[in-house]
């Protein structure tokens, strides 16, 4: 069955033009599919410079890959135009990070909901349009009388972001790319937004690609995880395995550095430095070599492939080179599919 959205051996390089010698590999040989049947929640975790934002833009067709392809229902995004492209725009929605920047300051927040209804012909009359708006607002736990008719600056960040989730729901997409949806929201309001997102997944069967730097919320929300570092996949698979028993040195460092709100588990002792140091070339070999305490000569020469360390987890590190190798396009094999999820309780207004 053709995948809904697929990245096939995608590489994106910035810079390196005629006059500049230096270039950055934002993403290298990345392959991943997003299915809708069954609907999944996958987290892509990485720090700034990891390539996660580039991945989102590639999947949305906002930038083109340097090598490889991004396919929608089996067709290269670059070749899709006109009607088919409109369908794509409906099927793949995005939730941005900044809950303020997404609103045109001239209009009330209603505008952001009525525009797609109008453009995609989702309602045949004014009444139908209004009832659709009310419907989606209530679905994300907002009260229409408290949100409609207001300007963006009159609402809280949490409310604004939830309206964006409602907007995503309007179009009944098959996939939602959520790019750091809660990083600019207060802690106490995050739960409600994440809850709404999960509701979209469970009640409406929408697959979610949750892109973030926050390992904790990624763990809470998703089934599978992809950990990126400087454009390469470090570790991927069942989120329970990757987070509870990280194998890749970077994942280990990441998990160990997360500030847990638990006074009994204070940060561990400072991590040992790398033995390889600055010798590594930023575009060759394992990107983590210059910070890795286990780095070997091999690591700076060649990028390690993915090794299938567990049934449902793979890591790209030579420490595990005794395990079977996994091709980039087979990365999805370590993903768990369709786990029954815990019931989520969302704070009700």
């Amino acid at each position: 069955m053709t995948a809904l959205l697929e990245a096939r051996h995608v590489t994106k390089i910035f810079g390196g033009g005629f006059f500049t010698k230096s270039y950055t590999t934002a993403l290298e040989n990345f392959s991943m599919t997003i299915e809708n049947d069954p609907p999944s929640v996958t987290a892509v975790v990485g720090e700034s410079g990891s390539g996660k934002t580039t991945l989102a833009r590639l999947l949305l067709g906002l930038v083109e890959p340097t090598r490889g392809q991004v396919l929608y229902k089996g067709e290269d995004l670059r070749k899709i135009g006109g009607r088919e492209r409109r369908v794509f725009r409906r099927d793949v929605q995005v939730i941005f990070q900044d809950p303020f920047e997404v609103y045109n300051p001239f209009y009330k927040v209603d505008h952001v909901l009525t525009t797609p209804i109008e453009k995609f012909g989702l309602a045949k009359s004014r009444q139908e349009r209004d009832s659709l708006v009310v419907q989606v607002l209530e679905a994300v736990g907002l009260r229409p009388e408290e949100t409609l008719g207001r300007h963006p600056h009159q609402l809280s960040g949490g409310q604004r972001q939830r309206i964006m989730v409602a907007r995503a729901l309007l179009l009944r997409p098959r996939v939602i790319l959520a790019d750091e949806p809660v990083s600019m929201i207060d802690a106490s309001l995050r739960a409600t937004i994440l809850g709404s997102l999960l509701k979209l997944n469970q009640e409406f069967g929408i697959s979610i690609l949750y892109i973030t730097h926050d390992l904790t919320t990624a763990y809470q929300v998703s089934e599978n995880i992809v950990v990126l570092y400087r454009g390469n996949v470090c570790e991927t698979g069942d989120v329970e395995l990757v987070v509870k028993k990280p194998l890749h040195p970077y994942t280990r460092l990441l998990v160990g550095s997360v500030p847990l709100p638990d006074v009994n588990r204070r940060w561990a002792a400072e991590a040992p430095a790398s033995s390889i140091g600055q010798k590594a070339d930023p575009n060759k070999g394992c990107r983590f070599a210059n910070r890795c305490p286990n780095a070997m000569e091999k690591c700076i020469r060649e990028t390690p492939p993915l090794y299938r360390v567990d049934e449902k987890r793979a890591a790209s590190c030579y420490l595990y080179d005794d395990k079977p190798q996994l091709r980039s396009e087979d990365m999805m094999e370590v993903f768990i599919k369709g786990t029954p999820r815990l019931k989520t309780v969302v704070g009700v207004q």
Partner: protein
């Protein structure tokens, strides 16, 4: 401060009173430039309206008055000039005519400037490169020079006031084009434009419905600037004798003042009124422009 933004409009602030007039009044109190400027312009407008209603403005035409160079008197409150015109009538008519030239040129300039700015700034490509080239080069060439050359060549065909406006417009679109283009360049990168695109909104619709409304303050400020520079240019040209000779505009009056050495001969009632009106006009326009600058650029807004 982010804190203040979040605080001033939270959930309990539901009763959104439609107090637009209150907001306008409050803002004007905080923006004295705008208030004073508007008042001055209003005075001039009133001068013309009331003046044309109560006064006989037909005497602004040349040779309409038998007593030439008559100092102010009961019959001629501002006296008369050498060409046989009632100066009060000239002032009343002139204010309107000068403003008209400015408005024609200003509005035309901003309209043309806005259209090309949007086309170039939003769509980029060859048109934008061409536009940038023309505007950048055009702005470095002294405008008066171009206008003088054009005016000299057209003048013999009998320039009317409206044609004057068109001539000045040739130059007045450049500056608006540049400033509005930069605004468009910034706006098109905003996230909410991307959101609109992802919602299926087409290019022209994004321009008109998403970006344009946000640029209104800028365009208004641009208009005032355009009108001011157009009036200045027209007065400049007229003073040199390159305007509509028969029209009783303020600039032409100054031309005649120079031609007949009115200053040297002490005909103060002839050269003072036009200068006074021009000064009021410019101070008014300047203050409005400063006030609008503040409106358009929230960062300049003064705290309470």
């Amino acid at each position: 401060m982010a804190d203040v933004v979040a605080l001033s409009g939270t959930a309990t602030d539901y009763a959104v009173k439609k107090d637009t007039w209150g907001n306008v009044r409050r803002y004007l109190r905080r923006n004295p430039s705008l208030l004073v400027g508007m008042f001055l312009l209003f005075c001039l407008l009133a001068f013309w309206l009331v003046g044309s209603a109560v006064y006989d403005t037909s005497r602004a035409a040349a040779l309409s008055v038998p007593d030439t160079v008559h100092p102010p008197s009961a019959e001629y409150p501002l006296g008369t000039d050498r060409i046989g015109r009632d100066i009060m009538a000239v002032m009343i008519q002139g204010t309107m005519l000068t403003l008209r030239i400015g408005l024609i040129a200003g509005i035309l300039g901003v309209s043309v400037g806005t259209i090309v700015a949007f086309l170039g700034g939003y769509y980029r490509g060859w048109f934008d490169t061409l536009l940038k080239g023309i505007v950048d080069v055009g702005l470095t060439i002294p405008g008066m020079l171009i206008l003088i050359i054009i005016a000299v060549n057209i003048k013999d065909q009998g320039l009317t006031v409206d044609q004057m406006g068109l001539v000045v417009a040739i130059y007045s679109w450049l500056w608006p084009a540049r400033t509005i283009r930069s605004q468009v360049l910034t706006m098109r990168e905003r996230t909410w434009v991307e959101v609109a695109r992802l919602s299926g909104v087409s290019g022209p619709e994004i321009i008109f419905k998403e970006i344009l409304p946000n640029l209104m303050p800028y365009m208004l400020a641009s208009l005032v600037g355009s009108v001011s520079s157009a009036i200045l240019a027209s007065i400049g040209l007229e003073t040199l004798g390159l305007g509509p000779m028969a029209a009783p505009t303020l600039g032409m009056t100054i031309y005649w003042v120079i031609f007949y050495s009115a200053m040297l001969r002490g005909y103060y009632w002839w050269w003072m009124p036009p200068i006074a009106i021009i000064v009021v006009l410019f101070v008014g326009l300047f203050m409005v422009s400063m006030g609008l600058d503040e409106l358009a650029n929230p960062r300049l807004r003064r705290g309470v």
